[in-house]
Amino acid sequence: MRYLPKSDLERRQMLDLIGASRLEDLYAHLPENIRFNGDLNVPPGKSEYEIADYFGARGGENANGFASFLGAGVYHHYRPVLVDAVVSRGEFLTSYTPYQAEISQGTLTSIFEFQTMLCQLTGMEVANASMYDGSTAVPEAAMMAMRVTGRKRVIVARSVHPEYREVLATYTRHQNVEVVEAGFDNESGAIDLRALERIVDKNTAAVIVQSPNFFGGVEDIQPLAALAHANGALLVHAFTEAVSLGVLEPPPDADIVAGELQSFAISPSYGGPFAGVIACKEKYVRQLPGRLVGQTKDASGNRAFCLTLATREQHIRREKATSNICTNQALIALMATVFMTVYGKRGLRELAEQNLAKAHYLGGELKRRFTGPYFNEFVAQASACDTINEALLRRKIIGGLPLARFYPELDGAMLLCCTEMSRRGHMDAVAEEFGA
């Protein structure tokens, strides 16, 4: 077998040394009922060519060559070719978690750069080395806020990604935590501040708000943070569309930022692997889950990096750790790092502006459901979402997400996303079908 670097001759020599006569002898001590002596009911091993063929065929059964206006937490951005050039290098792809700093400075340095750029983007002082994704970063941030405040109640905006809220529910269900939803204003689509005022209280650990929110709307976080802080709660800023940070001022009053970096050169890949991240004010760092890289020196006095503050983590603190997370999304975070490097200060701004312009072009053509400011997604009011989407599919266009699936109250509303990849012709086609 091509992945097994051994000839039968070598197996023989090794068995001889061990003093075994057959490979089976190596586990002859396993009780009879424990050994599986049958043949697994899986097909025989396939050649590389057949494997390529199989997955090529499966890919062919999915959408191919469609334009798409889906967003809703997963965005269709161009992936600079440098990203795969870098992450395909065996030295990054096939290396382990950088516990052994002396032969892992490549990974460590790039993570330190990742942390730094995330701080620059979010306005926070510390960022971790990644979380599984945005949907787990948000509940981890909520639990972090609970540890910081010693409180057991979190408020989450209904305009936070619905699947993130589902994960939050799963994570908190057995922790004696009360999760309260804060509704959105039916006109603006933004969080309903008045309603929020009524539910934030002195037992609240965190107010979690996403901006741009699930409807693409930009939230005014300042008053929300003020309200949270007045009650001794933390403000958690969630995001799913990282490109928005190219143009949006990060809320200076947030305490924790928890987001998803899929937009940064991470392919949609049917929902993963993505890279989540949590950033926060320095004073909360001891409650931050996940790995952290810090700067230090080596014995010769050269700058060096290493994993640090491990006393927050499971391998040191076990049941007292801030989280059970171990393996994270390092390689995917590296994709984001390369993306941020390639676009840089000017590029990320221009990219964000192109997204804004594209979305506003299409937004201008359609009847928008909400009035608030929006970045590259917005909600359009349709007569019949399904009819429109079916018509679009015939034109090789995947339309937007009918919101009724997650928001029964928004029946007939469709969430549409435009990015730098959206072509005017396709947007005009969408407008046409909405008009039809």
């Binding site: 097994l4 670097p5 090794m14 040394l17 424990i34 697994l40 899986v42 396939k46 390529a52 997955f55 090529g56 499966r58 999915n62 191919n64 798409s68 997963v74 440098l82 065996g90 990054f92 382990y96 950088p98 052994q100 400075q105 490549g106 990974t107 790039s110 730094t116 960022a127 599984y132 799963t170 057995h174 940070l245 001022e249 392919s267 890949s269 049917y270 929902g271 993963g272 692997p273 810090g294 700067q295 230090t296 080596d298 014995a299 290493c306 640090t308 491990a310 499971q314 059970n324 393996t327 994270n328 390689l331 995917i332 490097t341 840089g344 221009e350 192109q354 804004l356 312009a357 506003h360």
Partner: protein
């Protein structure tokens, strides 16, 4: 004698922020084909940032050199053996990287119509089936993003099932040899950890266990083979003890590389287990992730699996969101799909032959053990499966501990083994070669460890001060933690 490496010049490189120069660019966007929009008008001046302060400005050339140079500071599987016990660092087939990038897969949006996602769903179904077959379990969820996430999912499944019976109970038993994620998981699932000690062979002691199990215990988390690389030979009995009290057995399947094709946990009383697809199933570790923590369950836990579940509806796959007993989602969408593609590709390549891979993994570990055992103390007097754990006892007597031996291995051209884990072994040296190491590489590794043992006899200082050959000498981790510098500042 150092046989495996020589020294060579290795490029220095500053941080991105230090090589940045205002006005350099590494990107170009296509001409905008719609009217531009003024951000401060569209979003409000207060919401519009001036610039991303400190963000790098480099060209494409700078970028590729930067990351290429950085990469050369790393060790990797492509360069050599990674004897990290418990980590199963095996060869990552390149075809898997290629198929994960097939356009229809890499660019599939999780919300695209099911009619246009059948290929992706078929892959998920195939992998679920293959993993169920390999573990001997009845159903598999692929939603968890890594092993620890799988553990949480698994314990929540047990909790939900017990809750459905009326009482979630309070405790989960965790052996002292367990990986840190186990107790951390227990807490996240709202349970309390009860530690039990291993016996002198590093195994669970059913008698002691029986005393610890009562109606307050929800489950036992057992790693099998355990973290000493020893198979829990009395696992059937152990499961019996738990089941008799209405509790369940969770198996940490991080060490499934010892079992695939030769032993199926579903056949001997395991209720639920996770698999690390980034270990046993060869998906690349990528410097820390991504992974996938597939969870396999017996039939009685199936109703509680995270929603949605795949369901066959006539000729097509559909996502079933109506799962009233489900623990809910543990992650958005359907898991780390791209990792799943790679794992399935790996399974397809081996097919039934995965048994030989497992046998080779055992062969390699036992071969190494045989070569090394005369020079280091083995941790447990029990047969090794896919890894062998030594103690630094003999060397510590001369003042050299496992950590230094590990660093000295670097000078010999190897990545260190796993250091100081499991906690129950004094000065643990945990060695897992995996099946993808050649005899030649193993011989060099044993040779290096033996040579280091000799150095410890003759000149321990050279080991204590290691590594000597790396571009970065011993890194001061204490200062890093004492005065954390976690981001670059001008």
């Amino acid at each position: 004698m150092i046989k495996k490496v020589r020294q060579h010049p290795n490029q220095n490189e500053q941080l991105l922020f230090e090589i940045s120069s205002p006005g350099k660019t590494g990107y170009q966007l296509p001409e905008l084909d719609v009217p531009p929009v003024d951000p401060s008008q569209a979003l409000g001046a207060a919401h519009t940032r001036a610039e991303i302060e400190g963000f790098p400005e480099v060209s494409e050339v700078d970028a590729i050199r930067h990351f290429t140079r950085l990469s050369t500071w790393n060790y990797s599987i492509d360069l050599g053996m990674y004897p990290l016990g418990s980590c199963t660092m095996k060869y990552n087939p390149r075809i898997n990287e290629q198929v994960a990038r097939v356009e229809g897969l890499a660019w599939a949006h999780p919300y695209q119509p099911e009619s246009l996602a059948q290929g992706a769903m078929e892959i998920i179904a195939e992998l679920e089936g293959a993993l169920a077959e390999i573990t001997g379990m009845d159903a598999v969820t692929l939603q968890p993003a890594a092993g620890a996430h799988g553990e949480l999912t698994g314990i929540l499944l047990i909790r939900a099932a017990l809750e459905a019976q009326g009482n979630p109970r309070q405790k989960v038993i965790v052996p002292d040899s367990a990986h840190g994620t186990n107790p951390a998981t227990v807490r996240m699932a709202g349970y309390e950890t009860v530690n039990v000690a291993s016996n002198e062979h590093g195994m669970l002691d059913p008698e002691a266990l029986a005393k610890a199990v009562d109606e307050s215990v929800a489950a036992l988390m057992v790693t099998n083979p355990n973290t000493l690389g020893v198979f829990e030979e009395r696992i059937t009995e152990v499961a019996h003890i738990l089941h008799a009290k209405g509790a369940m057995v969770y198996m940490d399947g991080a060490n499934m590389n010892a079992l695939a094709g030769i032993s199926r946990p579903g056949d001997y009383g395991i209720d639920v287990m996770h698999l690390n697809l980034h270990k046993t199933f060869s998906t690349p570790h990528g410097g820390g992730g991504p992974g996938s923590g597939a969870v396999a369950v017996r039939r009685h836990l199936e109703p509680f699996l995270p929603a949605p579940r795949l369901r066959r509806a006539g000729d097509t796959w559909t996502w079933d969101y109506h799962r009233p007993q489900s623990i809910g989602r543990v992650r958005a969408f359907y898991g780390n799909f791209g990792v799943l593609v790679r794992a399935l590709a790996f399974i397809m390549a081996h097919g039934k032959g995965i048994k030989l891979a497992t046998q080779d993994a055992l062969l390699n570990a036992n071969y190494l053990r045989k070569l090394i055992e005369p020079h280091y103390d083995i941790a447990a007097q029990a047969p090794s499966m896919h890894e062998c754990v030594f103690s630094d006892r003999r060397q510590a007597a001369r003042g050299v501990h496992t950590g230094s031996i590990a660093k000295r291995l670097i000078d010999y051209g190897f990545h260190p083994y796993t250091v100081s884990f499991p906690l129950i072994v004094e000065g643990a040296m945990m060695i897992e070669p995996t099946e993808t190491e050649s005899k030649r590489e193993l011989d060099l590794f044993a040779d290096a460890l033996i040579s280091i043992a000799k150095e410890i006899e003759e000149n321990p200082q050279i080991v204590l001060d290691a590594p000597h050959s790396t571009r970065t000498s011993r890194v001061d981790e204490v200062t890093a933690a004492r005065k954390p510098v976690l981001r670059w500042q001008p």
